[in-house]
Symmetry: C2
Subunit: 375 residues, 2 copies
C-alpha cells in the first residue's frame, strides 16, 4: 500500500468511521510492480486528492513501472513522497517533464491538461486525462473500461506515439457502470438522474472545508466559507459548476453529453440534476430508466449481479441498500433499490440507486484501468 | 413567540447557523390570540418536534383560542410548558381529554391517532391529524390549503360535529406546493421525484442522533446508532420506511398515492426515490415533470412567482438556488433550477428543485393552516 507522506488527511477525509482496511497481502508479499519491463510513468497533480489515490491504486493493483515521476505545481515541488518503500521528490511540472515518459496520469485541472497534455503527446506519451479538457474532442476516446474499451483499442503505450485518452466525469462513470449492462439488454431511451455528490469532487480542500465547517457549526460558530460561498455543513446545494444558458450546470451537461459519446448513441435522452451533499468521498445517484424493450426487475438484478465492477446491495427486508460510506475506498459501484417504475406502463421502466467512490472508480481507478489497457 | 421550556434543542436542532430570527413585533405587541370567542384546542404530542412547532406556529400566526390543552404520553405528563406567557402542565392523553375540545392537532404517530382520533371525533372534536393513519381513508379529506381547500369545505369547528382531516406527508406537501401551480396550467402526466430528506422527518431524537454521531465521528469515535441502524453522519441512505413488495418504500408510496388523492386525479403517474441526507430540518426534492400541454420555463417561473406559499430562488448567474438551510424555520417552499427538460421533446417537460422546512410547511404550519380554515 502506498505510504503517502504528503497526506494532510484526517481519518475523516480518508475513510470515515467505521474504518475499512484495504485488502493487502501482508509483509511477505513480493512486489512485482517496479520492474525493468514496465512503462515509465508520470503522475501529474500528485499532491491532490486524486493524485494521491492514483498512487494508492497503482500500488494496490501492482501496476508495473520501471520509473515513476511525481509532478505537481511549483508550489508543491520539493515535497517528499514515499511510494512502495522508495522516496521521491515532487518535481515541478514542465513540458520537458515528459521526455521518456510512456504513460502520464493527469489530475491537475482542465487548464493544466490543456497546457501540458499536448506537450506530453508530442513527446510520445500516452496521456490519461482526468479533467474535462478533452472529453468532448472527437479525436479523443472517452473511456470506461467496463463499458467501451473498444474506443481506445488503437492506442498502446511505449510505441513512441503519443495520444490522449479522457477519463469521464465521476458522476457519468458511476451512473453508466450500472446503466450500461441494462442498456445493452433493453436499450435505454431516456434517463432521469438526480445526484447526491460528495465533497471530494471539488478536491481535498473542499473535504477539509466540510470537516472544518461541521466542527464550527457544532461549536456554534459561523462556518468558514472559502471553497464554496455558502454553508455546506448540515446543508446541501445545487452543484457549484457554472450554470449555462439552458439552465443546466456544467456538471449536468457532462452527464448528458458524455453518456451519448460513451454509448456512441446520439439519440439517448438524458436529464440530470446535480446536487452537492455533505458526504466526504462517494457519490450517490437516483436513476430513472426508460427502455425500448421490456426488462423486468428480476432480470435487471441478475444482469447487474453479473456485471463487472458492480455489486448489488438490494435487501428489501432489512432495508439495506447502497450508501456512500459503504462504497468509500472500494472499487466496485454498488446498485440497489432496483424496482419496476410504477410511473411507466408495461415493464419498460426501472428505478435504481447507485453509489460509487468518487475518488476511486469516479477518477483514479478508472484512469488506471485505462492505463492497464495500454500495456 | 412561544417560549418552550420543554425544549432540549441546541442551536443546531432549532435553527442551525447562520441563525435566522423569526419575525416578531416586539414587546409592545398586544396578543389577541387568547380570547373568549376562540375555539378550545388541544395539542397531542406536544413535547415532540412537530408538537413544539405547533405551539410556535400557533403563536406566530396569532391563532385564536379560548383554551389550550397540552397532551402527551404518560411519560411526558407533568412536564411544564410556558406558552404565550402562561404556564401549562402537560396532561396524559386519554379519550376523555377531548371533552369540550373544538380542534385537536395530532402529531404523536399513527398508532396514537388510530386509538384516540376516533374517540376525539365522537366527542365532537375536529381532528387535524399529522400521521398517515387516515390519509388514504376515502371519507377523510387530505388537504394542502393552497392546493385543495375545497376538500374540507364541509367541515367547521365548534359545531359539535366531529371530523377527521389528514395532513399529507411532508415530502408530498413540499413537492405539490411547487408542482400544483404548474399542474393547473399544463396538467402533469408524470412526475419523477428524488428526495433529499432531513433528520427531522424521523423526529427530534433523530436530529439529536445526527448531531451526536457527527460529534463522535469528528472525534474519531464509533457513531451511536439508536434511531437508525447505521451511520448517518457524513452519509446518506435509502429512507428508513419499510419496503413493500413492489420495491418502493412506504415514504415513496405516500408520494404516489397522496398526489393522486390531493389532485383528485387517479391517472397521474408518479415515481419517487426517497433518501435521507444528513441535514437537520428541511427537505429538498429534485422533481422532473412531464406535462400534457406545453409549458415553457419562463411561464413556469412566472406562475411559481405568483403562487401562494412559494418563493422562487433561481439565480443562474450567481448560482443561487434553494437550499435546506435557507428555508429552515421559514413558511414558504422555495423553488429553483427551473428549466426546460432536455430529455423531453417540445416544451412539455421541466426540471425543478424544491426545498421546504419539514417541520413547518411539511407538518405544523400546514396543519394549522387547515385549522384556520375551520374557524
Amino acid at each position: 500500500m502506498a505510504s503517502l507522506s504528503v497526506s494532510r488527511h484526517s481519518h475523516l477525509l480518508s475513510g470515515l468511521l467505521p474504518a475499512r482496511s484495504k485488502p493487502t497481502s501482508g509483509p511477505t508479499r513480493v512486489r512485482m510492480s517496479l520492474r525493468d519491463d514496465g512503462p515509465s510513468i508520470a503522475v501529474v497533480g500528485v499532491t491532490g486528492a486524486v493524485g494521491q489515490e492514483f498512487l494508492s491504486v497503482l500500488s494496490d493493483r501492482d501496476f508495473p513501472y520501471r520509473s515513476i515521476k511525481m509532478l505537481a505545481s511549483q508550489r508543491s515541488a520539493g515535497r517528499r513522497i514515499t511510494f512502495e518503500d522508495r522516496d521521491y521528490v515532487v518535481e515541478e511540472l514542465t513540458a520537458d517533464s515528459f521526455d521518456g515518459v510512456d504513460i502520464a496520469l493527469f489530475s491537475a485541472g482542465g487548464s493544466i491538461s490543456k497546457k501540458f497534455g499536448p506537450a506530453a503527446v508530442d513527446r510520445g506519451t500516452v496521456v490519461v486525462d482526468n479533467s474535462s479538457a478533452f472529453r468532448m474532442d472527437e479525436k479523443v476516446p472517452l473511456v470506461i473500461p467496463e463499458v467501451n474499451p473498444e474506443a481506445m483499442q488503437h492506442i498502446k503505450a511505449g510505441t513512441g506515439k503519443g495520444a490522449l485518452i479522457a477519463n469521464p466525469n465521476c458522476s457519468t462513470i458511476i451512473c453508466l457502470m450500472a446503466a450500461t449492462p441494462l442498456h445493452r439488454r433493453a436499450k435505454v431511451l431516456r434517463m432521469v438522474v438526480s445526484t447526491y455528490q460528495a465533497a471530494s469532487g471539488a478536491g481535498a480542500a473542499a473535504m477539509e472545508e466540510l470537516e472544518l465547517q461541521t466542527r464550527e457549526v457544532l461549536e456554534g460558530k459561523p462556518p468558514t466559507c472559502k471553497i464554496f460561498n455558502r454553508q455546506y455543513a448540515f446543508n446541501l446545494f445545487s452543484h457549484n459548476a457554472s450554470v449555462l444558458s439552458n439552465g443546466y450546470n456544467e456538471e449536468e451537461m457532462k452527464m448528458v453529453k458524455e453518456t451519448r459519446k460513451i454509448w456512441n448513441d446520439k439519440e439517448v435522452k438524458v436529464t440530470a440534476t446535480c446536487i452537492r451533499v455533505p458526504v466526504m468521498r462517494a457519490h450517490a445517484e437516483s436513476v430513472n430508466l426508460q427502455f425500448e424493450n421490456p426488462l423486468d426487475e428480476n432480470t435487471a438484478r441478475d444482469i447487474l449481479k453479473n456485471a463487472p465492477g458492480v455489486v448489488v446491495i438490494d435487501d428489501r427486508e432489512s432495508n439495506h441498500f447502497p450508501t456512500p460510506l459503504e462504497v468509500s475506498n472500494k472499487d466496485d459501484v454498488a446498485v440497489g433499490r432496483i424496482r419496476q417504475d410504477l410511473s411507466q406502463d408495461g415493464n419498460q421502466g426501472l428505478d435504481i440507486f447507485v453509489c460509487g467512490d468518487q475518488i476511486r472508480k469516479g477518477a483514479a481507478l478508472n484512469a488506471i484501468q485505462i492505463a492497464e489497457m495500454l500495456l
